[in-house]
């Protein structure tokens, strides 16, 4: 049935596509190790993924191949990378991962970009036994998810930890007398934004922080002026926005326009992007945001340099490094096992400590409890100021004006 209708379709003049598809799959290199990757090159998540996910994959493959490939027991093997675009669509993502697993028969797959995509793909990784070292996935259900999917690893933290990081910063600043108790909080009315705001209300209240303004705005709205005006009118000591990339930029712009005078100004996702610092320059000095790095270690310095050289782009000051770390872990585990044995590599990840650009990483119950939660733009660099079990946090500074 399928075959017949397909043939008819071809007969109607679409044969070229099919023919080219056939030709393009016949070229393959011998003696390589095949690594697959599916991430959003188009669609709403593409903006973040082309900063954080894509360049690190490119960089890692280039580095490994430049040194002759992955060292396995039967000799060194070059990486053959097979990438697909999931178009920020979970259905497309699932199909693409299945294609990697059953058609391309890749040896390993680099974990998806985005919480939803990691969870949507987890059953397939589990079915075929691929280790899945998730980076851009933040959840409060890590325990339940790792119990369900024995090859799924989390590295970037939990929703609650992120909120607690912000709370700690605000409490520290309050206790030092820098700010008062009043917090204006807004969130994007979409999955992660709602989740963070929901977690923040009781956590802030318990710490004695008073939420004087609590509003949401729709995803993708270009008009953020009303929420910023409202926040300003509430006369807060601190401003917290659980925001996504486009609105992180939009809210900052509005804060400049409204001249929102707070000593602590926090926006969530994408504050750590080089483009954010690039766009606003000194105006966003001492702005707080999600994530962070310690850019002063020799390993991180080398990483930023190599990233720029090999991909032509600047790494972000948060999950870029984590993404690269996840690839280092995969690399060390494959070489540690010395073979393309998925089960053994998964077990190796569970049992060993990995030397990475962010220091030693070890998984406990498939969770690496070592990550940055809050960072701050300090003189052109976004430094981590709050972390869970990572050393090198800079001390937080008070913001003074938008100059």
């Amino acid at each position: 049935m399928k075959r017949r209708t397909f043939n008819k379709a071809i007969a109607k003049g679409i044969a070229t596509a099919g023919l080219a598809a056939f030709l393009s799959t016949t070229s393959w290199a011998a003696d390589t190790i095949k690594i697959g990757a599916v991430w959003p090159k188009t669609g709403p998540l593409a903006g973040g993924a082309t900063v954080t996910q894509g360049p690190n994959i490119e960089m890692w493959v280039k580095q490994v191949n430049a040194r002759g490939g992955l060292k396995l027991k039967d000799g060194q093997k070059m990486i053959e990378l097979i990438e697909y675009d999931d178009k920020t669509n979970p259905g497309e993502h699932i199909k693409a991962v299945q294609r990697l697993a059953t058609q391309d028969k890749v040896d390993f797959i680099i974990a998806p970009y985005g919480t939803g995509f990691n969870i949507a793909a987890a059953p397939i990784y589990a079915k075929y036994g691929y280790p899945q070292i998730a980076v851009s996935a933040i959840s409060d259900k890590i325990e339940e998810l790792t119990a369900r999917y024995p090859n799924l690893f989390f590295t970037l933290g939990t929703t609650t930890a992120f909120v607690e990081g912000v709370r700690d910063i605000l409490v520290d600043m309050r206790d030092a007398g820098t700010i008062g108790n009043k917090v204006a909080m807004i969130n994007v009315a979409d999955a992660f934004g709602i989740e963070l705001a929901d977690a923040a209300r009781p956590i802030f209240a318990k710490a004695g922080l008073e939420i004087v303004y609590d509003k949401s705005y729709p995803l993708g709205t270009p008009d953020l002026s009303p929420v910023m005006k409202g926040a300003k009118a509430s006369n807060p000591d601190a401003f917290v926005a659980w925001s996504y990339p486009p609105d992180t930029f939009g809210l900052t712009e509005q804060a400049v326009i409204e001249n929102l005078d707070v000593k602590a100004f926090y926006t969530a996702v994408a504050t750590c992007f080089p483009a954010y610092g690039g766009k606003f320059g000194s105006k966003v000095n001492n702005n707080l945001g999600a994530g962070g790095v310690n850019p002063d270690t020799p390993e991180m310095k080398a990483y930023f340099k190599a990233h720029k050289e090999l991909t032509g782009k600047d790494a972000d000051f948060w999950a870029s490094a984590n993404t690269y770390v996840s690839l280092q872990i995969l690399e060390q585990a494959i070489e540690g096992v010395g073979a393309s044995d998925k089960a053994a590599v998964s077990q190796y990840i569970k049992d060993n400590t990995f030397k990475t650009i962010m220091g030693d990483i070890k998984f406990e119950n498939q969770f690496s409890n070592r990550f940055w939660t809050v960072g701050q733009w300090q003189d052109g660099v976004f430094r981590g100021v709050k972390s869970v079990n990572v050393d090198g946090a800079a001390s937080v500074r008070a913001k003074s004006g938008w100059n």
């Binding site: 049935m1 399928k2 209708t5 397909f6 008819k8 379709a9 596509a17 099919g18 080219a20 598809a21 393009s24 090159k41 188009t42 709403p44 697909y84 675009d85 178009k87 920020t88 669509n89 979970p90 259905g91 497309e92 699932i94 199909k95 693409a96 299945q98 294609r99 697993a101 059953t102 058609q103 919480t115 939803g116 969870i119 949507a120 987890a122 059953p123 397939i124 079915k127 075929y128 959840s139 409060d140 259900k141 339940e144 998810l145 369900r148 929703t159 969130n187 009315a189 979409d190 999955a191 992660f192 709602i194 989740e195 705001a197 929901d198 977690a199 949401s216 729709p218 995803l219 993708g220």
Partner: protein
């Protein structure tokens, strides 16, 4: 109106049996493609039940599909309800929503109706996000079940069977006859005493019901629901294109559109992923210029020529 032939029934049963064994013989990737295809068969066929005879092009599939997925996710994740309960509630809610929307908008005709339905998915997405944000709260919408793709495939296949039986009944009913008259000339339909508003609303409700049911069944496949993904305008366009490519004058028309479209879409996304939107555009042009009545119309034209 001719009676159904026995050969037709036998053919339908054979096709159904073949479709039912797909998960037993296909590998993971082919099954994934099959799940996507059968999802669109269900959506496009139920879409054509309304839009085929009446010529009201509805871009609301995404809105109802989203309601289905979203209700299942909220119910399971935030209220600890079972999948089955939520999958039963979701289409009913969508049907009620469709009725309200239908009553308000089916007086619109032509392009006004199309534009309204296009905006609908956005409106519903914002509405549910707003309600969730302000009244319900959420800790992430997880839909964790033990369903495999094979289970989801079979559930969708069952939905397809129901849609086909309903569609067959419809085409032999007074309601179906009324819809065809409305499609040909609404003024005439009114004059001969057809309650045009009621007929249109009933059918619009049906498409809403089935789209939400499909969305509900797909939710476990996505595992984690984000409103901006389930309320996707692209889905609405794909449903329309696939149905029109197949042809909407026959119940099995959309099926003839969905299967080649899914396969070609797959080849393009895996090999030239930058060109899938271009392909969508070409498919549109193809429909408008070459096959206004779909593959089915084309086949029937050739059939008539052969006989002549």
């Amino acid at each position: 109106m001719k009676q159904v032939s026995w050969s037709g029934i036998v053919l339908a049963i054979i096709l159904f049996a073949l479709a039912a064994i797909v998960p037993l013989v296909a590998n993971g990737y082919h099954l994934s493609v099959a799940v996507t295809a059968i999802m669109y068969v269900a959506l496009a066929t139920s879409w054509a039940l309304f839009s085929g005879p009446t010529h009201y092009i509805s871009l609301a599939s995404g809105a109802f599909f989203g309601v289905g997925g979203y209700l299942v996710a909220t119910g399971m994740s935030d209220y600890d309800q079972s999948f089955w309960l939520m999958a039963a509630i979701a289409p009913v809610v969508a049907a009620i929503l469709a009725t309200l929307i239908g009553l308000a908008t089916l007086r619109l005709s032509g392009v006004y109706f199309v534009i309204f339905t296009l905006g609908l998915a956005e409106m519903v997405r914002n509405l549910v996000s707003w309600i969730q944000n302000n009244f319900l709260g959420s800790r992430g919408l997880y839909v964790l079940t033990d369903f495999t793709e094979a289970h989801i495939y079979w559930m969708l296949l069952a939905v397809c069977v129901v849609i086909y039986i309903f569609g067959w009944w419809l085409s032999h009913s007074r309601l179906g006859f009324a819809l065809r008259i409305i499609g040909n000339d609404e003024a005439v339909a009114k004059h001969v005493g057809i309650n045009t508003a009621l007929s249109k609303v009933v059918l619009f409700m049906t498409t809403g019901f089935f789209a939400a049911l499909v969305g509900a069944i797909i939710a476990p496949r996505y595992s984690y629901i984000e409103p901006n993904q389930v309320f996707s305008p692209e889905l609405s366009f794909l449903v329309v294109i696939m149905a029109l490519i197949g042809g909407t004058n026959r119940l099995w028309g959309p099926l003839v559109g969905v299967i080649p479209f899914t396969i070609i879409w797959e080849i393009i996304s895996s090999n030239f992923s930058n060109f899938s939107t271009l392909f969508l555009g070409l498919a549109f042009l193809l429909i408008v210029y070459v096959i206004p009545n779909g593959f089915v119309g084309l086949l029937e034209k050739w059939g008539r020529r052969l006989r002549a």
